[in-house]
Symmetry: C2
Subunit: 338 residues, 2 copies
DNA sequence: TGAAAAAGATAAAGCGCTTAACTATAAAAG
DNA sequence: CTTTTATAGTTAAGCGCTTTATCTTTTTCA
């Protein structure tokens, strides 16, 4: 039924060891035998059983990807990009949706460890450093993406979130906005974005009073709406809102409209990520773009080089965000004037 | 280093066969020994090596999911739902993005076969029946989702696409539309939708002249825009457009606006899928809803029961679509009147 | 021409597990 | 008290592959 290394060996009149050698390009083999064996392999449509070799400690060409929410466009685009690069390089992806849930993170980690994935790409919340350190202690390749652990030696490819926040604030300030609301889930990357944001404000002598605001248990769009409602009906109604991802921004726009605010005339909105939805919503969203495509490529490449042992030192690749101006932001109107 | 069945056996003073038996709940084991072994397993934090058992023909608790485009919200939501259900039941998902490319489909199929996934969930285009039949001949569990092969015995969970198309047409007709454009990629499910659509028209004595229209090589949104431009600037400018997925519909709305058409006043638009973007775009999209959540659950459950051999006969589960009315469709204005 | 070195191929052990066949023990039956 | 039978546990083969030590053949060159 299933063709094994024995079948090939018999057919080619050699030992299984010889076959193994040509499979792995190891040891001394004459060209003649190599050719013969290869021919037979083709002819029999032989494919080595990965499990048998995994048993012997070889790689499985599979990497685990832990992601908080595959249905969030940023993550699904990132996943697609990682997957593509993986496919190019001969790696498969076991994708696990953690739903920002640390219990699930744990479960997946031990499950996939058991399934001998060659390494882990963590795009999850992972506020918990311990788990990552645990993996590293066991010498399991780990790469973090879209999330940085400062002060901690780990392979990572991340966005300069600080700069992203700075860019957003800078844009808004230049348009004359001074009273700006922020909506962000309390994650590390968002903390950085907020830091950059505040830094820009400070440079111009501005202050921001609003801090982390987020409503758990809702999806991003709903959370964006709720918070926007709160902001826009409060006393110091902001003239602009910085939403820390595009989904949130979509919610902001929706609620603004529902409350009778015109975007961008009455309220400027800037998002983050530059996913497909930024161009789908109305008005098209001004947003801070993450280079999702190269991010995926870089992280997969890094993962592979770690797996192959080419990298012994840790490295951190930082990609830079950029401002994409569309229609959801504009210069503030002078109050009272028309 | 790694703790094996031998370590457990030694520690518990039994043979490895006994340990194996308690792991798999097989054979005769006294309660006392069972408890003892279990304790030791916990204590040593032992986890069986899946590969070793896979080598012996046991399951890997991994299923392959082939999907055309994980970044399309319909598929990412579907993937999430499948993944969730899988996780509940102890299965992992290897997700492969085929990009509607039959070469990639082939590659993934043989690759994952080699990696001994327990079965395949095919959400891909798979116009090619042969491959599916090939898998089935090898007795590899296969379930098709969101895509039906009529006249062919295969496990599937699908939407009643015919009804979906019918519902869309019915809604539009009741609103008085007679001249309706259709945008759809030429896939099986869309052919069914179109058939249902036309059926409804025929019932009312209406005809549709436009047929399959799609532009390959573009993403859905762009394709939707291009085609809309063509329709709206043509002679028999339609009063309504049926787009066979929400992404396409988003493109339609965008282009309509760009051309100065008001939605829904000048042009009614109905989508398909009811993904998150339906509520994000402006105006909110009237669309035919697929029960994505239950679809994912059903397909995973079906897959598992096939894997476990509980199902010997093929079965086809058909879910029903429903119309979700939002703001992108309205009754047609009588021409000339105001 | 012959001994040493190099090259090519092999046998066999072992990775961690399952399982069929078997042995030992205890309980039931004659 | 021996024989049968059910029960509890063990032995050992083997899944398909890698790899080390070993053996055989060919090449090299003094």
């Amino acid at each position: 039924m299933k063709v094994t290394i024995y079948d090939v060996a018999k057919e080619a009149n050699v030992s299984i060891a010889t076959v193994s050698k040509v499979i792995n390009n190891k040891g001394r083999i004459s060209d003649k035998t190599r050719k013969k064996v290869k021919t037979v392999m083709k002819q029999l449509n032989y494919h080595p059983n990965i499990f048998a070799s995994a048993l012997m400690g070889k790689q499985t060409k599979t990497v685990g990807l832990l992601i908080p929410d595959i249905a969030n466009p940023f993550f699904s685009e990132l996943a697609r990009s990682i997957e593509n690069r993986g496919h190019e390089k001969g790696y498969n992806l076991v994708i696990s949706n953690t739903n920002y849930d640390s219990v699930k993170e744990d479960q997946y980690l031990s499950l996939l460890k058991q399934k001998s994935v060659d390494g882990f790409i963590l795009a999850s919340g992972f506020e918990n450093l311990d788990k990552v350190q645990g993996l590293m202690k066991e010498d399991i390749p780990v790469v973090i993406v879209a999330r940085d652990f400062p002060m901690f030696s780990v392979n990572a490819v991340a966005l300069d979130d600080f700069m992203g926040g700075y860019l957003a604030a800078d844009h808004l300030i230049k348009l004359g906005h001074q009273n700006i609301g922020v909506i962000a889930r309390d994650l590390w990357s968002n903390r950085e974005r907020l830091r950059g944001f505040k830094h820009a404000l400070k440079e111009k002598g501005l202050e921001i009073n609003s801090n982390f605001e987020y409503i758990k248990g809702l999806d991003h769009v709903q959370a964006g709406k709720k918070l926007t409602q709160k902001y826009l009906t409060s006393e110091e109604c902001p003239s602009a809102i910085f939403a820390c991802n595009d989904l949130l921004a979509a919610g902001v726009i929706q609620m603004a409209k529902e409350l009778g605010f015109k975007v961008p005339e009455d309220l400027s909105i800037i998002g983050f990520d530059n996913t497909a939805i930024a161009t789908i919503i109305e008005p098209p969203l001004t947003t801070i773009a993450q280079p999702i495509e190269s991010m995926g490529k870089e992280v997969m490449d890094l993962m592979i080089s770690v797996i192959k042992g080419e990298k012994t030192d840790k490295s951190r690749i930082t990609l830079l965000p950029s401002l994409v101006k569309r229609k959801s932001t504009e210069a503030i109107k002078i109050k009272g004037k028309k």
